[in-house]
């Protein structure tokens, strides 16, 4: 199911990608497209391969078959740090913050690829190095502002409650000014208020920074609310792909995942 207007080259194209671990087909010939500027939700039961999909896009796993195209070019076999250089950022299911660093430092690490520096000047913290550091600090402060985490910027990340950690992880991903943002269960473990905040932020990111977003999410009301398009996976295969209301009514998806409300 395509959206009404014919899109320009999709930002991300996954073409027949398979990932096998021994005899297990984590992903089986999955093909999908993520158009620029959209919010795409990936749903499915546990073990369906959703995180594996994100991992393959991020470069942690290399597909045993198929290709991945980013901005029209084949990017199938890149290492994660090269993928980052392309403009893809992500968050993780089990919040992967740097627990020993403060929130501010964590987010500043997200700016790493934007930092050009001479090592020598860094060592002296002189002139251009200091100027750059402060510029990046200013940018990061904008993100901190946007995500409303000013109060905790000097707190070590390991000491934050779970919900705030997830927000900081989002901030870190945003610091890289990504073209494509991959979120792995960004609302997991949050209460209703926190989820509303997160939805607001995700939509805000999509709106203001024009970032394309793909997120894995289990909460169907969130999915219905914020996504432009939904992709459903089951046992490593794509079983549905279309507008939220279409996918919600899709029989295969109902059978595999959503179930039917009992009278």
């Amino acid at each position: 199911m395509r959206s009404a207007e014919a899109p320009p080259t999709p930002l991300l194209q996954v073409d027949g990608v398979s990932v096998r671990f021994g005899a297990v087909h984590a992903l089986d010939s999955v093909s999908l497209e993520i158009p620029r500027g959209e919010v795409v939700a990936i749903i499915g039961p546990n073990g369906a391969g959703k995180t594996t999909l994100l991992n393959v896009i991020s470069g942690f796993y290399h597909p045993t078959g198929g290709h991945i195209f980013f901005e029209g070019r084949d990017r199938t076999h890149l290492r994660p740090y090269d993928v980052a250089a392309l403009g893809i950022a992500r968050t993780f299911q089990n919040v992967a913050l740097f627990k020993g660093m403060s929130v501010l430092d964590n987010i500043m690490t997200g700016r790493l690829l934007k930092m050009r520096g001479s090592f020598l000047l860094d060592a002296l913290y002189w002139g251009p190095a200091m100027k750059q550091e402060l510029e990046h600090r200013a940018f990061v402060e904008q993100i901190i502002d946007f995500l409303e985490i000013e109060a905790i910027r000097k707190t070590p990340a390991g000491r934050l409650p779970y919900g705030l950690q997830k927000r900081v992880e989002l901030a870190r991903a945003l610091a890289a000014e990504p073209k494509l943002l991959l979120l792995d269960e960004p609302m997991a473990g949050m209460n209703v208020e926190e989820k509303e905040d997160m939805c607001r932020f995700v939509l805000g990111v999509n709106d203001e920074f024009d970032t394309t977003i793909a997120l894995i999410e289990h909460d169907m009301s969130v999915v219905m609310d914020i996504s432009d398009r939904v992709i459903a996976l089951d046992y490593g295969r794509k079983i549905a792909d279309g507008r939220p209301d279409e996918v919600r009514a899709d029989q295969a998806v109902i059978d595999a995942y959503l179930g039917v409300a009992h009278a």
Partner: protein, 358 residues
């Protein structure tokens, strides 16, 4: 009430990122620097300089190096002694081959050589992590020491198998060798460690330090941000080894006067590791605090019995030293695994509130 930050607002990011953002800290540090540079040489006697302050400065340097590698970059290393040896022997060879080169430059060159060696032994760190890496660094430790022992070229074919620091002067003042006074050697060590401590601080609060800490805390997430693990780790090994190499050169040239490989054996590696852990992993200040602790405990233990009038036979003293040392380490790890630096932070926080309890 003296330590209040109230009224000290930061209006620019620059002042927020300064090394000592609090005015009271700046005053204290300035005073300490004056005391160290001017006061100490005036007041301290030969014994204190030779037995306490100079080794303290040199060990701090080595602890800085190890802290950068293990505390910030998370790469456990038990090869510190070996790298210090590389620095010492390189300095010796360079200065005996080129006596005209200024001795401080010789130290730095020795550091560079050690950095290269460090990179070599750091290559396994891409595949090997944690404990296993520690064992790999042990290979460096034992191999390097064996090398310096066996290959007589390193000692310029000295029959005693030791290297001796030749007399060298800076601006007319003897810095190494039997003529060099303790004060001069102290000042040299102080200036060197002070300068490189600032460099270390600049590195860790910027881009480089953050990449290291990212690798230390979550290397997988670090990759997704764009950190290149091998490059980052090798940089850590290089810089850390540089520091250890310079410290090793200073060890022989400014402190011992002459040494053989025994001076750099595995015990030194453990000693420096203790300094880093007790002082605080991932803390520049901690490296100094840990070195101070480890240097003064034996001195204290040696002198305390005399002070309270109970002289002990030497062997017994050594045994008690070992026991107290071991006991203190365990005690420390139980009480404050984050080291003296954290205790210091807690002190400062309490000081902020003083005289109120909380």
């Amino acid at each position: 009430m003296f330590y209040r930050e109230a009224g000290q607002f930061k209006s620019t990011y620059a002042s927020d990122q300064a090394i000592f953002p609090i005015r009271q800290d700046r005053i204290v540090v300035a005073a300490a620097l004056v005391a160290a540079v001017v006061g100490v040489p005036l007041v301290a006697d030969e014994y204190w300089l030779q037995a306490v302050l100079i080794p303290f400065l040199i060990y701090s340097f080595a602890a800085l190096g190890l802290n950068l590698l293990t505390g910030y970059a998370g790469q456990v290393s038990l090869g510190t002694g070996g790298f210090m040896a590389v620095g010492a022997y390189s300095a010796f060879k360079i200065t005996s081959a080129f006596p005209g080169v200024p001795i401080v430059l010789v130290f730095l060159l020795a550091g560079l050589v050690t950095a290269l060696v460090g990179v070599l032994f750091g290559i396994p760190s891409l595949r090997i992590k944690g404990f296993y890496l520690a064992v790999a660094t042990l290979a460096a430790q034992f191999f390097l020491l064996w090398l310096f022992n066996k290959v007589a070229w390193f000692t310029d074919y000295a029959s005693s198998g030791t290297i001796t620091a030749p007399p060298r002067a800076v601006l007319g003042v003897m810095v190494t060798g039997p003529e060099a006074t303790a004060s001069v050697r102290y000042l040299t060590a102080l200036i060197l460690v002070g300068f490189f401590a600032i460099i270390a601080k600049n590195l860790v609060r910027g881009r480089v330090g953050r990449s290291w800490m990212a690798i230390r805390d979550r290397d997988i997430a670090a990759e997704i941000i764009g950190v290149r693990p091998l490059r980052t780790k090798l940089l850590a090994f290089a810089i850390s080894s540089f520091y250890c190499g310079v410290a090793g050169a200073e060890y022989v040239f400014l402190y011992l006067g002459s040494a053989e490989t025994l001076a750099f054996d595995i015990n030194v590696s453990f000693l420096v590791l203790f300094m880093v852990i007790i002082g605080g992993l991932g803390s520049i200040l901690g490296s100094f605090l840990g070195a101070a602790f480890i240097v003064t405990v034996p001195i204290f233990l040696t002198n305390a019995p005399h002070l309270i009038g109970v002289p002990l036979p030497v062997a017994l003293q050594k045994q008690i030293e070992l026991m107290v040392f071991g006991g203190l380490i365990i005690l420390f790890l139980i009480v404050e695994p984050n080291g003296l630096a954290r205790l210091w932070q807690i002190c400062k926080e309490k000081l902020r509130l003083w005289p109120f309890p909380y």
